[in-house]
């Protein structure tokens, strides 16, 4: 069964203090590792998809990286508006995994001014 674990559960940063969020995954035949941002009471907003180890993607202050067992979301010089819950999800390669996303529990990021 696919499993995704995120750490830490919560992270408090000062504005401008860079850090990283971790996502560990166990999935048969990875067909995508996804990062989403979710604001309170709203649906997840798509950020990145990574498909193979060594792949990196960037968007503004965010950079996502992927290894064979983990993904990291690096936040450089965060601003208060980056405060949100960040969700990681995997999609497996076949059988009962095909099509569905398996999510971690999320990391709640708070950036103080």
């Amino acid at each position: 069964e696919d499993q995704v674990t995120q750490s830490p559960e919560a992270l408090r940063l000062q504005e401008g203090e860079s850090s990283s969020l971790n996502c560990s995954y166990t999935v048969s035949g990875l067909r995508g590792l996804f990062w989403y941002r979710q604001d309170p009471g709203k649906g997840p907003e798509f950020l990145f998809t990574l498909y193979s180890a060594g792949e990196e993607k960037e968007k503004e202050r965010l950079k996502a990286t992927l290894t064979k067992k983990e993904s990291f979301l690096h936040i450089t010089a965060p601003k208060p508006e980056d405060s949100a819950t960040y969700l990681c999800a995997s999609r497996g390669g076949g059988g009962t995994s095909y099509g569905k996303l398996t999510f971690g529990q999320g990391t709640i990021l708070t950036v103080h001014p």
Binding site: G32, Y36, G41, G43, T49, A89, G99, K100, L101, G106
Partner: protein, 113 residues
């Protein structure tokens, strides 16, 4: 271009009642997936619809059923509501042409009293 839309926004029901939630996918998308998100947790996969058929199902009881219409919109039905069904219900749409990346709607907040 409208993204994924869901209705209603909020819903309050009592135990034993039945509920229907609705979803319109993003323009050009033909696949709809439904997720349940309890407070403080990541979304849990309920099922996925493609070409008006249930393609894949998560670990949810038969009280949860769905339908997809020819215009690709979808409904989620839950019978015999339990207190534990209180959650944010998320709809996501996707298309093979966009790498099957799932884009989420704003969700329907269901409260069961």
């Amino acid at each position: 271009d409208a993204g994924v839309t869901q209705s209603p926004t909020h819903l309050i029901k009592t135990r034993g009642q039945q509920v229907t939630l609705r979803c319109s996918p993003k323009s050009g998308h033909d696949t709809v997936s439904w997720y349940q998100q309890a407070l403080g947790q990541g979304p849990q996969f309920i099922f996925q619809y493609y070409e008006e058929e249930e393609r894949q199902r998560g670990n949810f009881p038969d009280r949860f059923s769905g339908h997809q219409f020819p215009n690709y919109s979808s409904e989620l039905n839950v019978n015999a509501l339990l207190l534990g069904d209180s959650a944010l219900y998320l709809c996501a749409s996707s298309s093979p042409g966009e790498g099957d990346t799932q884009y989420f709607g704003p969700g329907t907040r269901l409260t069961v009293l």
